[in-house]
Symmetry: C2
Subunit: 116 residues, 2 copies
DNA sequence: TACTAATATATGCTTATCCGTATATAAAGA
DNA sequence: TCTTTATATACGGATAAGCATATATTAGTA
């Protein structure tokens, strides 16, 4: 993991929003991110693929659902960077709205929520 | 300062190398960075301009020399991100070589060194 | 097997970004 | 004013990256 790979992965707002939500919640499936960010599914999926390729996130399939979490081998410094970033920006938009919105995603919106 | 602006600024290796050296040394002029990184002056200058536009760095002219330092209004979280990144990568290439190389830039290579 | 739901990927288009080379600009000194 | 030095910027080219839309792929169920 080189630093510019991490920073490039985080340099897109959609990707950053995904990572910040995953950082706060431990693990999230695509459908949750899609609803929380109110963006199209292909767009979310594409950005998640980029994050996965950069080894920032890793995925886990559970039936039709795919959950994403921070990569198990993310270096400590990179994790600290993410945490410090969250501390600095969680009260900013769109990150504040994202978190509130995620909390409001109804559990019956997707069956994946029951198992999370 | 939004996070993706910071991360975009850092997503290029040349720019990241510049910022890491500036972070370690407080203030550096273009000629020092150009020699330490062993890259062309226009390339360094262009990247410094990008960092300045993103308000990651600020500059100060002293005669024919221009010195760059971290921007005075860099948010605390952003500074912490930079510091943690340095902690994590300073022993990696090319950052390790950059620092060693900077130490070896002879003082008589440029008159700017005398005043620094 | 067919159908449905969730997700990943392809396509074509537009815009952004980086590069080396050349040169413009700013500053200093004769 | 002219010359030199340091730095900034312009230019043209190549490549990367993001987007919406469409559709392929995977998993589960009837």
């Amino acid at each position: 993991m080189s630093p510019e790979i991490l920073f490039r992965a985080l340099s897109d707002e959609t990707r950053l929003r995904c990572v910040m939500l995953v950082l706060q919640h431990g693990e999230l499936c695509v459908c949750k991110l899609t609803e929380a960010l109110n963006l199209s599914q292909p767009k979310i999926s594409r950005h998640l693929a980029t994050l996965k390729a950069a080894r920032v996130l890793q995925d886990r399939r559970e039936g039709v659902w795919v959950h994403y979490r921070l990569h198990a081998q993310l270096p400590a410094w990179a994790l600290t960077v993410l945490q410090q970033t969250l501390c600095g920006i969680q009260a900013q938009e769109p990150f504040l709205s994202d978190s509130l919105h995620l909390k409001n995603v109804p559990d019956n919106s997707s069956l994946c929520s029951i198992t999370e």
